[in-house]
Symmetry: C2
């Protein structure tokens, strides 16, 4: 009898990191259940990319969760915010403990909590997140100490955490540079034209080329020595 694959719940945003994380989890032999969030982000076009990735990866279980925009209203990434997405920032400053205006309040806590409840409901104990502490270490919810703390909390506050071996939060990209993430993803066969990184795409979906996320993506492809399939406005 064929052994049933273990299930992993993967947070899938439609960007480079979550796509690479999904490919990594798949390579590890997990059956993937993906969750994507629609939370009033300016870059809601990323959801379409998450859908494309699910087709590409043959992920048949994909949930798109709606979170009311006002929950994250203080972030410059939210359509509820009057703050613009910062452009042409010096991205060499990103990671110097400064928390940028694109920080979304408790986003990874809420996303991981959804993944946790869903995982417990379907009998999975493995949750994958594309958190990365190198390029974005300004975000407190992308740091290793946060992920460790979330995992501990999850294993105190759930039935599976208390009565079994509990949950594992996997963040395989945590210590990788963007260029190394891209190289890893390419070695896993990812087509990165199915991803989008821009925080503030134009109405037609074209990436701005100037937000932190576009700049980090551009730099990552250059450093990896491969062509970026993205069309940028600038």
């Amino acid at each position: 009898m064929e052994k049933r694959k273990k299930i992993a719940v993967v947070l899938l945003s439609g960007g480079i990191d979550s796509a690479t994380t999904a490919a990594y989890a798949k390579k590890q032999g997990f059956e993937i259940y993906a969750i994507t969030f629609s939370y009033g982000q300016r870059h809601s076009t990323e959801i379409c990319f998450a859908e494309k990735l699910c087709v590409f990866f043959k992920i048949f279980n994909h949930i798109i969760i709606k979170i009311p925009a006002r929950i994250f209203s203080s972030s410059a990434l939210s359509t509820e915010s009057e703050s613009p997405v910062p452009k042409k920032r010096d991205i060499s400053s990103v990671g110097n403990k400064e928390i940028p205006s694109t920080y979304v309040p408790g986003r990874n806590i809420l996303f991981l909590s959804y993944a946790l409840s869903f995982a417990e409901s379907i009998g999975s104990r493995d949750i994958f997140i594309g958190a990365n502490a190198v390029d974005y270490s300004g975000y407190p919810d992308c740091r290793p100490e946060f992920l460790k703390s979330f995992e501990e909390m999850a294993n105190i506050g759930t039935k599976a955490g208390v009565t079994s071996d509990g949950f594992k939060i996997h963040a395989p990209l945590l210590d990788l540079k963007k260029s190394d993430i891209i190289k890893l993803g390419l070695s896993l066969g990812i087509d990165y034209s199915l991803t989008q990184s821009c925080y503030d795409p134009e109405s037609g979906g074209v990436s701005c080329g100037e937000c932190d996320s576009c700049q980090i993506r551009k730099k990552g492809f250059i450093e990896a020595g491969v062509t970026d399939p993205t069309v940028y406005r600038k």
Copy 2:
């Protein structure tokens, strides 16, 4: 100039505990922002009671969040589950570390995560939850060690947690018996006819009288020596 009240985000389900917690937070001088969840619970009539409570307490900021039922599908409380709500259980066994089938996977983790993101967005640092470890100590996400762990995680994984004094998770009912909660609530002026506890009400909204929650409610009113305004089927 009148000093602006501090804001508290309160989880409000429509039952005795969350109603009493809201009254307590109000008494402490907080302006209340309430959050109620519609998550495919069999007892979704509780949401109407949460709305009644907001009118009663003059809570003008009330968000009702929709969570897809499949997120919590393994709980007997979910309409997605084929397991019935247990009836006529010996409630003296509740609290003996047994986790009942009415456990909802990671529910308080997800609910608190919503409260946390919303609190950070609106500049609040105080979150109130009606968790109680006496009557329901079978639920891992109602125990003091869980609440402490959540608070620690929140203060590692958020901007306000890292850059300010951080968040406080208030659980004022944690160590109270149901009868003491009812006495406290009555002293705060609560009209408990505006609350519902039943896990499995009939289609007309009448409480079953036999689930754990109805039994604990009945017992609480009897021990408090006051009349329970609830109409029970049995």
